[in-house]
């Protein structure tokens, strides 16, 4: 049993990141855009952790933890904004919000 | 007799020209014309008559049609402006002065329109809805004149005298056997398949739609069949998250037209229907009715002492019984599942006692006009004594689980707070008003049966929240134990063959056990009894026949429930059960 090559991690990471990007571009719905963003963040995490495993480091894992933490705050703020938009504007798609006045 | 005297209203006599003050043996009433009604009610309220008791209407159609009845009624001075034969309805408002302990009836005449009193008493709003539902009286300025019990598209006004007891044969309703087995039933089983129309789903939808304006996103249908509503009440909560923005109540799921039936039953026979009003405290309702009829007959002093004590003792047992069910379901609603069965254990003992003495567990029908149905059986007093000796200990056990439990305190304290003014405004009675600190108890105010001779305290709360109501009811159970103990002591001293039915000394009034041929002279009375849920009042109008002309029942639960939407404003659903259970309505009584 040998260790898994770094390229494998990177390949998975790349595919998921691309899917996340695609989702962010294609999605009309605000919440699903945020979800695609989460997917991209996770892809980055895979790259970090894979590199660590290959190279025997821990820095990548630490950064993965930071990313998780930041994703949490991003989700909280993003969903908060979405809820307030829903409440005041009753819209559900990104192109219906054209100004920043809330 | 807690009726106001004529001299109390001397100054009003000068203000209102048409005012006519009538003092009868059974009541004091103020007769006023429709135009001056609201100013008079305002003036009376300012004089201290702050507590609203009841309001309804009497349809005088039959009185005017039958000359004999009209003469009897006019002679007894029951009508406001008896010479006015065009106005078909007589409205009455029963008010109470809590400080001076006086009651008064305001009577007025109308041909179908009345000014609303919803600004003076909120309870009047509900009473007016009921009168609108039953008589079709239009109330000018009423905010929500929707039908109280019947559905919105119902074309009739059932309590009018031209609505027959059997209804109108309009719609086919096959009996269940016809549908399932194809049986053609004969003889006594052959029901009339034609009925007055019944509501369809569309009718119910219209009823639901015709309500106060929707205020929030989610409308939660709470009821008609829901374990938290203690019966078949239908609440509509407008919810914002879990917060209740507005509450609407749709009653009438158990409406059986008891008041209409009363007009077609003899005085004694109506006893059976009082069982089925507040079915948890049937005996107290029986007693209130029997006492009302006895007072109307003027024989309440002649009832033998033994019967009085038996009635008092039994109705106090029934009060404990009812409060036990309340305690059990209240605890169940708040999640303490075990108290429910503990309470039912003790309740079962009371049931055993009641069953042994009266022969029934729920629909008791034990008192009779002039006494009780049967003497106490052998061993009854011993069993009751054994029960009341042990009961305080059990009550203490439950209090140990609940009263000082932090969860119980958090769920109850500060929830459903009723101020004193609100209590008057919404016409509350019973433990609900006593929880707000007002010592209003019919057993002290207008004592009946053996209550003047026994000693007991009126428990009152201070704040008026659910916790106070809980403590008041628990304390009431302890006081009832005291009353029962005194009654048992008294009954033990009485000889075994003491009479339990009244024997009239002068044969003028013939009273038998079955009440056949009980003719009551013309007159009217408002008499009430203290039910476990509040003041159960009967307004009886007699034209001197075997059957009452009009019986208006003042259901305590109905008016106690009227404060519920007010209390539920800005609370969460979990408080809905707490507040509802602490008000403790019984649907058999709210709907009648």
């Amino acid at each position: 049993m040998k260790t898994i090559p770094l390229e494998a991690y990177f390949a998975v990471s790349m595919i998921l990141f691309g899917l996340g990007m695609l989702g962010m571009i294609v999605r009309r719905n605000l919440v699903t855009v945020l979800m695609s963003l989460e997917l991209s963040l996770n892809a980055v995490n895979i790259a970090f952790v894979g590199a660590d495993a290959y190279m025997g480091l821990v820095e990548g894992q630490i950064f993965a933890l930071f990313i998780i933490a930041l994703a949490a705050s991003e989700a909280a703020v993003g969903l908060g904004i979405i809820i307030s938009i829903f409440r005041y504007r009753q819209v559900e798609s990104t192109d219906e919000i054209t100004d920043m006045r809330g | 007799m807690p009726w106001a005297k004529g001299e109390d209203f001397g100054d009003l006599k000068q203000r209102f020209k048409n005012l006519n003050i009538v003092e009868l043996d059974t009541e004091t009433s103020l007769h006023i014309d429709k135009e001056n009604l609201i100013p008079l009610l305002e003036a009376v309220k300012e004089k201290g008559f702050k507590l609203f008791l009841d309001h309804s209407v009497v349809d005088l159609k039959d009185v005017f049609e039958k000359d004999k009845d009209y003469r009897a009624v006019a002679k007894a001075n029951l009508l406001a402006f008896p010479e006015d034969k065009l106005s078909r309805y007589q409205a009455f408002y029963i008010l109470y002065n809590v400080e001076e302990r006086k009651r008064v009836i305001v009577k007025t005449r109308t041909d179908g329109k009345l000014p609303t009193i919803e600004k003076l008493w909120f309870a009047g709003k509900w009473a007016e809805r009921e009168a609108y539902d039953m008589f079709g009286i239009e109330y000018e300025g009423h905010e929500n004149l929707a039908r109280a019990f019947m559905w919105e598209t119902y074309p009739y006004y059932p309590l009018r005298k031209d609505f027959p007891l059997e209804g109108f044969p309009e719609q086919d309703l096959p009996s269940l056997n016809d549908v399932i087995l194809g049986d053609k039933l004969e003889g006594t089983m052959n029901y009339n398949p034609k009925h007055t129309i019944v509501p369809t789903l569309e009718d119910l939808e219209i009823t639901e739609k015709r309500r106060l304006k929707k205020k929030a996103q989610i409308v939660l249908n709470w009821g008609p069949l829901h374990p938290g509503t203690h019966g078949t009440m239908w609440f509509l909560f407008d919810l914002e998250g879990e917060r209740i923005v507005q509450t609407d109540v749709i009653l009438g799921q158990l409406h059986r037209g008891v008041e209409k039936l009363a007009e077609h039953e003899q005085y004694n026979q109506f006893l059976v229907y009082t069982d089925r009003m507040d079915y948890l405290s049937a005996l107290c309702s029986n007693q209130a009715w029997v006492v009302a009829v006895e007072r109307l007959l003027g024989i309440h002093q002649l009832v033998p002492e033994k019967a009085k004590y038996i009635r008092t003792m039994m109705s106090e047992l029934q009060r404990i019984n009812s409060h036990l069910l309340w305690l059990g379901t209240y605890a169940l609603d708040l999640g303490a599942l075990t108290i429910f069965l503990y309470a039912f254990k003790e309740r079962e003992k009371i049931m055993d006692i009641l069953e042994g003495i009266t022969g029934a567990r729920l629909t008791i029908s034990y008192p009779r006009v002039g006494g009780v149905r049967m003497d106490l059986p052998e061993g009854a007093l011993e069993v009751i004594k054994a029960f009341i000796d042990r009961f305080p200990r059990e009550l203490g056990d439950w209090e140990r689980i609940l009263s000082r439990n932090r969860i119980w305190l958090r769920r109850n304290k500060g929830v459903g707070h009723i101020s004193r003014e609100d209590a008057y405004f919404y016409g509350l009675t019973g433990p609900v008003i006593r929880g707000s600190g007002i010592a209003y108890d019919i057993r002290k105010v207008e004592p009946y049966d053996a209550y003047p001779e026994v000693e007991f305290d009126i428990p009152v709360g201070e704040v008026g929240d659910c916790y106070d109501r809980y403590l008041v009811r628990v304390e009431e159970m302890k006081q009832s134990i005291g009353i029962i103990r005194q009654c048992v002591e008294k009954l033990e001293k009485m000889p075994k063959d003491a009479p339990f039915m009244m024997e009239s000394p002068d044969k003028k009034i013939k009273i038998t056990l079955d009440g056949l041929g009980l003719k009551v002279p013309a007159g009217d009375i408002y008499s009430s009894g203290e039910n476990p849920r509040g003041e159960l009042g009967f307004y009886i109008m007699s034209v001197g026949a075997f059957k009452p002309y009009r019986v208006k029942i003042r259901p305590p639960s109905y008016y106690n429930l009227s404060i519920y939407p007010h209390l539920m404003k800005d609370r969460v659903i979990a408080d809905a059960v707490t507040v509802l259970a602490s008000i403790d309505p019984v649907v058999g009584e709210t709907d009648r």
Binding site: - | A336, L337, K345, R410
Partner: protein
């Protein structure tokens, strides 16, 4: 290669044993609960099917199986059924990291009575345990009905709040043991001759409260509060589907979390512990079986205690529950954590 196959076989046997025991015991705990409740309420409980109702769970199961499967008209059928699976799987998966006893030898193989002794076992427990939120939220949403929606919202709110409190509460014992592996935590307690409940009473109380909250036991059973919401998020479920939710919530989860409580605070399979004296084993005559018996006894005792609470106390209101979580339990757990983190390195090691 042979050792790999042996390991696989042992793992499969462990899985089967744990699954069988958990689900079977879970079903029979319904009978235990009914009996306990009945006797607290002065009733005998089920008495008809079998001796003292011993076959009652089977009869109930049969009844639930043969019932009609109802489905709300505008619900979402996929999610409606998925919610069930999502409730059942994580709850049983938690048992993978519960050590039932010490390592022992059988036919020359060393067997640890734990499915996987992961380094981060405890984190897994809480991660998996709180996956139940999805089941509940989806069940409420997929039923397309208001009562289930309110019930599932309540429950999800509780789980999110108490997940935080429970995670901070277990930090104390973790610091004392110095490991995240459940097996090692028990060994550390045995080594140090002290149950952590003596050192971490505050953490224990917080843990017990969170346990009750997460499993929806009284005083936190508001997600189903039959007086308010009929049965909460299971209103629209019928038959065995209705039966599985309480089975998972009230029995399997309670069992797994009380096993975790035993592992963390009550010394796992160790016998009775008295501070400054050590372990006393009144069951020494059972020999190598005694640790397993002790473990089972402790879990049973905790379970019975939870039942006892359930049938005594009233229930809180939803806002009060979250208030307690954030205003009482979380500060307590945090304080306990900080206190332990400061004191433990100085005094303990």
């Amino acid at each position: 290669m042979e050792s790999v196959i042996a390991g696989l076989i042992i793992a499969v046997i462990k899985i089967l044993v744990i699954l069988g025991v958990v689900l079977g015991v879970g079903a029979y705990l319904t009978l235990v609960e009914r009996k306990v409740a009945a006797h607290i309420q002065r009733r005998p409980g089920p008495m008809v099917v079998g001796w003292h109702g011993l076959l009652q769970p089977l009869a109930d199961g049969l009844k639930l199986m043969t019932k009609e499967d109802l489905f709300p008209r505008y619900g979402n059928r996929v999610l409606y059924n998925l919610a069930l699976i999502m409730a059942l799987v994580p709850a049983t998966l938690v048992f993978a990291v519960i050590p039932f006893g010490p390592e022992f030898e059988l036919f020359g193989y060393k067997i640890k009575p734990i499915l996987t002794d992961v380094n981060v076992g405890l984190l897994l427990v809480f991660g998996l345990g709180s996956l139940a939120v999805y089941a509940i939220a989806l069940a409420g949403w997929a039923s397309n009905s208001k009562y289930p929606l309110i019930g599932s919202m309540r429950k999800a709110g509780i789980i999110v709040s108490y997940e935080v409190a429970i995670t901070f509460a277990v930090m104390g014992p973790l610091i004392l043991a110095g490991t995240l592996s459940t097996y090692n935590i028990v060994e550390a307690q045995i080594e140090q001759k002290l149950w952590y409940v003596w050192l971490q009473p505050v953490a224990f109380v917080v843990f017990m409260f969170s346990l009750l909250a997460e499993t929806g036991r009284v005083p936190f059973d508001i997600q189903e509060a039959e007086a308010e919401l009929v049965t909460g998020f299971t209103v629209e479920y019928g038959g065995m589907k209705f039966g599985l939710f309480p089975l998972v919530e009230w029995y399997v989860e309670v069992l797994s979390l009380s096993a975790i409580a035993v592992v963390l605070f009550l010394g796992g399979w160790s016998p009775i512990n008295i501070p400054f004296i050590g372990f006393i084993d009144p069951l020494f005559f059972l020999g190598p079986l005694s640790p397993f018996v002790w473990f089972i006894l402790k879990v049973t005792a905790l379970f019975l205690f939870i039942l006892w609470l359930h049938w005594t106390l009233p229930r809180y209101r939803i806002d009060q529950i979250t208030e307690i979580a954030w205003k009482v339990m979380l500060p307590l757990a945090l304080f306990n954590l900080v206190f332990t983190a400061i004191i433990a390195p100085v005094v303990w090691r």
